[in-house]
């Protein structure tokens, strides 16, 4: 048997798994876009987007102000990777759409766009297990539908354009409140040029049994996708939201910069599941934060497999007594990828609890980074945080980093943080090989075992998909 240590050191051997998982989403169709804001970003771009969307004046003013904030903020390279400097904001197309109103049935969706989503299996999944689906194609949703039985309970599931136009009172109250424009450079960029994304409202006491799903598809080259999602779960309600995403592999970089705000009112529960599988030329720079009121619970389940660089730290502001926040994070970084992910837990009320479990796997020359923040300010009591980060390194030249920041004031709270770095034990691989598994199968099994307790928290369909992706990624990662 070739030893594991030897196998990985052959850095010159091309990593055979790079890009395998992307094949499913790696295709593009020529689409005749009716609306195109052109290349580059200026006030004119914003006016174009605002005019096409026929937006209210306050939204246009909001966008303009955000553009100024974006331009005034420096790139955060004093702590983040310098790879960010490779984003050329002047070469990006900020708005591409074939129309502003999503279709309610797949038959109405233009043929070329429909073909895309059929190939990705979205209509089929909708029939099988979803309460509602929104399918975004570049800047706008091509399709958006919610099952009648869910709609009858008063649940609103529309895209951001419709949400702001048709339910301004409901959404304006929270829009930009959880993540203000100036939160960071990319939230400002999103606030200036946002388009698409979901607006969801769940009325008091309504428990949406099946998940709502959004699928984000980038089709065009040099494109920037800036969806904006706001989910409001009213008192005592429950909702699960899932998002998936793919893009074809272009030779030039693509930017995806979303803002996702969650509001869980008293006793509400929101579970937000992401399976990010962008092509590995996509810069995925996303700001996600939830506001949990008293006794509410917000749980982010975040799985990052694709992209060139992902920077994403889902957070929960624990605003009400006994609120609970949780982040479950799985990241897999392969050759040419940097998964810079983590969590933020801001405790702002007594007896709030938070839990962060992060597992990352670095394959080949991939780099996985955990970056976290836990903040417990003065005069709170009974707050607790638990953070666990485990990193698995597959090859000798794989890389992992951990950068948590924890602030605790006062003597009535407790936090604990633990992180470990390890590799798959040779004994384990040897044991499995003795029982007839190939080295690749054994590695795959070991990696699946490493994330198994987290993967089980995903809905069945997603955890099966995740397992399949990991099998593919691990194939040939050794030997």
């Amino acid at each position: 048997m070739k030893s594991l240590t030897d196998s990985g050191s052959a850095a010159t051997v091309e990593n055979p798994i790079a890009g395998i998982d992307q094949t499913k989403g790696d295709f593009t169709y020529d689409v005749a876009y009716e609306f195109d804001a052109g290349t580059g970003l200026s006030e004119r771009t914003i006016d174009y987007i605002s005019s096409v969307k026929k937006e209210a004046d306050w939204i246009r003013a909001f966008r303009r102000q955000a553009l100024q904030v974006f331009q005034s903020k420096p790139m955060p390279t004093h702590w983040a990777t310098r790879d960010l400097e490779n984003i050329d904001f002047d070469r990006i197309r900020y708005y591409l759409a074939s129309g502003q109103k999503p279709k309610r049935t797949w038959d109405e969706v233009p043929e070329d766009i429909k073909r895309t989503f059929e190939r990705l299996g979205i209509p089929e999944q909708e029939r099988k297990f979803l309460a509602g689906v929104e399918a975004q194609f570049d800047s706008e949703a091509a399709y958006s539908n919610i099952k009648e039985i869910v709609a009858k309970q008063g649940v609103i599931f529309v895209n951001s354009t419709e949400g702001l136009r048709e339910h301004p009172d409901l959404f304006r109250r929270w829009f930009g409140k959880v993540i203000p424009t100036g939160d960071n450079k990319f939230s400002a960029l999103n606030s200036a040029v946002f388009s698409g994304g979901s607006f969801i409202y769940v009325p008091p006491g309504v428990k949406v049994a099946q998940p709502l799903q959004a699928y984000f598809r980038i089709n065009a080259e040099n494109f920037g996708q800036f969806e904006r999602t706001l989910i409001i779960a009213d008192e005592g309600s429950e909702v699960t939201y899932m998002e998936g995403c793919t893009a074809p592999k272009f030779s030039t970089a693509t930017l995806h910069s979303a803002v996702v705000e969650l509001v869980a009112l008293k006793g509400a529960k929101i579970q937000y599941i992401t399976v990010q599988n962008w092509a590995n030329n996509v810069f995925n720079l996303v700001t996600k934060r939830g506001l949990a009121h008293a006794e509410a619970e917000i749980k982010w389940i975040d799985c990052n497999i694709g992209s060139r660089l992902t920077m994403k730290y889902p957070g929960v502001v624990l605003k009400g007594r006994k609120a609970r926040g949780e982040v479950i994070s799985i990241a897999l970084a392969n050759d040419g990828q940097h998964q810079d992910t983590g969590a933020k837990m801001i405790h702002a009320a007594d007896e709030t609890t938070s839990n962060v479990v992060s597992k990352s796997i670095s394959v080949g020359q991939g780099r996985a980074t955990y970056r976290g923040q836990v903040h417990i300010p003065k005069r709170l009591r009974g707050c607790r945080n638990n953070t666990e980060c485990d990193a698995l390194l597959i090859n000798t030249n794989s890389r992992t980093d951990t950068y948590p920041a924890i602030t605790v004031r006062g003597d009535r709270n407790s936090i604990q943080h633990e992180a470990s770095v390890s590799k798959v034990s040779e004994d384990m691989i040897f044991y499995m090989q003795q029982r007839g598994l190939s080295e690749g199968q054994a590695m795959s099994l070991a990696v699946n075992g490493f994330i198994n307790d987290l993967a089980r928290q995903f809905p069945m369909e997603y955890s099966v998909e995740l397992k399949r992706l990991i099998d593919l990624e691990m194939e040939g990662s050794v030997g």
């Binding site: 240590t5 990985g8 004093h78 702590w79 003065k378 005069r379 990193a391 390194l393 597959i394 090859n395 000798t396 030249n397 794989s398 890389r399 992992t400 980093d401 951990t402 950068y403 948590p404 920041a405 924890i406 602030t407 605790v408 004031r409 006062g410 003597d411 009535r412 709270n413 407790s414 936090i415 604990q416 943080h417 633990e418 992180a419 470990s420 770095v421 390890s422 590799k423």
Partner: protein
């Protein structure tokens, strides 16, 4: 010589102007050319660098507004120093007051016969020039204090030089005392320890002031170099005036099969930053980094550490414990770096904060950067209060709450003190910490 350069902006150099630097050089005996050149370069570097600002990542959570260099002066020569006994037998003792040698006593007559050197850096520059040149401030400042390290090098007057030659084991510790005396005094203490192949040496580095109301600036550094198979035990006890701004930077280099154990006890200063940088350069190298802090009043203790594994089969183990009272703040920012070829690294990093007040604040940034896969790296950070069940248990036996809390805090520290192999050192440190905890001044 360059003496005519544009005037320096006052905010960035404070009292340490070009004129002050030239006056400092004039006060020194003739220096070797290489050392003079390094001091001049250091001054230019210091003057060119800005003071840290709030969004410097290396100063995250630090109170950067407290880092003022204004109003300090080169201190007067001291005529007397406070009584300083640390309650243990020593092989030699060096006492520095305001950066200059006050007294030197060789207590173990065998030392010099065996080739052990315990002397000042000024003497060593003349007599052991090559060793000093190789190891004095030879490692880069990597933890954010470049400006202060440069200031230290530029204004360094004198310090301690300890050398243990090949195969020599020095049984008793060597005590080095550095005092800052007088209001507005600025001092730059330095301790350089070189242990040659297979040598063993223990150094106790004590820092203190006459009284706790004097506003002082202390920018110190120490270099520990453990050659092949050598073992250095270093204990630093920082007890500066409570009005002092103190920055201390440590560089530890560990060669093949060598071991350095360092324990820093932090008690004094208004704002104290301690940077500790351990390089494990060859297989079998071990670095054990320990720290105990009692933070009270409005004190801020800011500790930054770096454990760099540059070779396979090396081990580092860090345990930093802070007890926080009143309105004190602590910052622990640690980083374990495993270089791409440093397989079989075993690295551990742990920061434990014990909160004894509702107004205290503890910040933890335990970090890892791992570029090799066959490693065992773990870190942990916890912040919590005293276990209420343990407290109750003691109170139920008639012990007052205050006494119970003290006992439990000592218990919290005991895990670190137990790592020391010398019993009398352990006892002396426990006494020192107890005096601090009870707020009494001061048993040394």
């Amino acid at each position: 010589m360059t003496t005519t350069t544009a005037p320096l902006p006052p905010g960035t150099v404070g009292a340490f102007t070009r004129a002050a630097f030239e006056a400092h050089l004039a006060s020194l005996p003739p220096l070797p050319e290489w050392w003079l050149a390094r001091k001049r370069a250091a001054f230019e570097h210091f003057a060119a660098l800005p003071l840290p600002v709030r969004n410097d990542e290396a100063w995250r959570f630090s109170n950067v507004s407290g880092l003022t260099l204004d109003g300090f002066a080169p201190p007067a020569t001291a005529r007397a120093v406070p009584f300083a006994s640390i309650g243990i037998r020593k092989a030699a003792r060096l006492i520095f007051a305001n950066g200059r040698l006050f007294s030197r006593e060789i207590l173990d007559s065998n030392l010099e016969r065996r080739g052990v050197v315990v002397d000042t850096i000024q003497n060593a520059l003349r007599e052991h020039g090559d060793l000093v040149r190789d190891h004095l401030l030879a490692q880069p400042a990597r933890l954010g204090s470049d400006k202060f390290s440069a200031l230290h090098q530029a204004f360094l007057v004198d310090g301690a030089f300890v050398y243990a030659p090949r195969g020599v084991e020095v049984e008793l510790p060597i005590g080095i005392f550095s005092f800052a005396l007088g209001d507005q005094a600025a001092t730059f203490p330095h301790t350089l320890v070189v242990a040659d192949e297979g040598a063993r040496v223990t150094v106790i580095d004590y820092f203190g002031s006459q009284d706790d109301t004097e506003r002082q600036l202390a920018i110190g550094a120490n270099d520990l170099y453990a050659g092949h198979g050598a073992r250095i035990t270093y204990v630093g006890k920082q007890d500066w005036s409570h009005q002092a701004l103190a920055l201390q930077s440590n560089s530890t280099v560990v060669r093949r099969d060598a071991c350095v154990q360092s324990l820093n006890v932090h008690l004094g200063a208004r704002q104290a930053r301690h940077e500790s940088h351990s390089q494990l350069q060859a297989p079998g190298a071990i670095s054990e980094m320990l720290s105990l802090t009692v933070a009270r009043g409005d004190q801020e203790f800011d500790q930054r550490t770096l454990q760099i594994h540059q070779a396979p089969h090396t081990r580092s183990d860090l345990l930093y414990k802070n007890a926080l009272l009143q309105r004190a703040r602590t910052i622990f920012s640690g980083l374990i770096v495993v270089d791409p070829d440093a397989q079989k690294t075993d690295a551990y990093q742990s920061n434990r904060n014990l909160m004894l007040s509702d107004e205290a604040e503890a910040n933890s940034l335990p970090g890892l950067e791992i570029q090799a896969n066959d490693v065992r790296c773990t870190h942990g950070a916890t912040t919590s209060r005293i276990d209420s069940e343990q407290e109750f248990y003691l109170q139920a036996r008639g012990i007052t709450k205050r006494a119970a809390d003290e006992l439990l805090t000592f218990g919290f520290f005991e895990e670190v003190l137990n790592r020391l192999s010398q019993d009398d050192l352990h006892t002396a440190l426990r006494t020192l910490i107890q005096s601090k905890f009870s707020g009494e001044k001061v048993i040394r």
